[in-house]
């Protein structure tokens, strides 16, 4: 994955970048399967590697496949990115170790979900139970976000098309 990230950063041909990021998504999905997060892996594989690759290729068809040369050397953004990455890595050092059974997340609500989800909701897949029932408000918010994204795309692109038509008539 690190090699793929370097390749994406160094590559100037945007078609290659799109294909590489699709491969990155598949690797990410594999990692998520290894972490037993199959629901998320499925989403990553279908959205990240599937739909977004198609949409990005469609966008590239419209705007050309060669990345523009940067006007200045981007040292300041690089420095900011490195500082923030360092801070994040420093922050992860304070997290409990991976799959530590005494981590706060495992002793607070997780046992309740794992023990009571089947009895309370009748749904054996705990991920679905948490997503749709215990965290129903969050999922409603997510659906609204997806709806807003669709409405935004409709608003932006349809206005462009209409203006183009008006230009033809004039």
């Amino acid at each position: 994955m690190a090699a793929l990230t370097l390749g994406i950063a160094l590559q100037r041909n945007l078609y290659a970048v799109v294909v590489l990021s699709g491969a990155y998504s598949f690797l990410m999905a594999t990692a998520l399967v290894a972490l037993d997060a199959v629901d998320v892996a499925m989403t990553e594989a279908s959205v990240g590697a599937g739909i977004s690759t198609v949409l990005l290729l469609g966008a590239l068809y419209l705007c050309g496949g060669e990345e523009a040369k940067p006007l200045t050397r981007p040292w300041l953004p690089l420095a900011i990115a490195l500082v923030i990455a360092g801070a994040l890595v420093y922050g992860t050092l304070g997290l409990p170790a991976f799959s530590d059974p005494t981590a706060p997340i495992h002793i607070h609500v997780v046992p309740r979900y794992l023990h009571d989800a089947l009895r309370e909701t009748g749904v054996p897949n705990v991920v679905t139970a948490v997503l749709a029932s215990y965290r129903g408000y969050d999922t409603l918010g997510e659906t609204t976000v997806v709806f807003t994204a669709g409405a935004g795309v409709i608003a932006l692109l349809r206005r462009l098309r209409r203006r183009k038509d008006g230009g033809h008539k004039a």
Binding site: L62, E120, A132, E142, I154
Partner: protein
């Protein structure tokens, strides 16, 4: 895309299986990985596949734009409607326990309809975005 006989035949063979898999992911999401979001994406991917092979006009004929735009809003309305149904039946907003005679059945019913709402909105939005991009592509070719 008139000449690509193999692609067209394989696409016609594959599409039913993709749709059935989407439905499986949707309705079996209670027992296995999956749910509304993933199923919606698979449905949208099936339609995008169809549009890539048979062309955008054919896809627009099969799933018209008006239907897609309705789906975008309908999914959120289904989801929010489940919440309102809970309110009307005497519970809190998004409270599934009151939707059926026993609380567990109410939960199952609530989760089912909520997932349906998510799937409808997600597939509608994905398809709409694709239509928008591909439609501009076509108008660029016309010029």
């Amino acid at each position: 895309m008139r000449g690509f006989l193999v692609l067209r035949v394989v696409a016609k063979l594959l599409m039913p299986f993709m749709l059935v898999f989407a439905l499986y992911v949707q309705f079996h999401g209670d027992y296995s990985p999956g749910g509304g979001f993933q199923a919606g994406v698979i449905i949208a991917a099936t339609m995008i596949f169809y549009a890539l092979i048979f062309g955008l006009p054919a896809a627009r004929q099969l799933v018209p734009e008006a239907l897609v735009e309705t789906m975008v809003a309908l999914g959120v309305l289904i989801y929010a409607g489940v919440g309102v149904a809970g309110l009307l039946l005497g519970g809190n907003y998004l409270d599934y326990f009151v939707l059926a005679h026993s609380p567990v059945h109410g939960q199952e019913r609530g989760i089912f309809w909520v997932e349906v709402g998510v799937a409808v909105t997600v597939s509608g939005v994905m398809l709409k975005i694709f239509y928008m991009f591909a439609g501009r592509q076509r108008s660029a070719e016309d010029e």
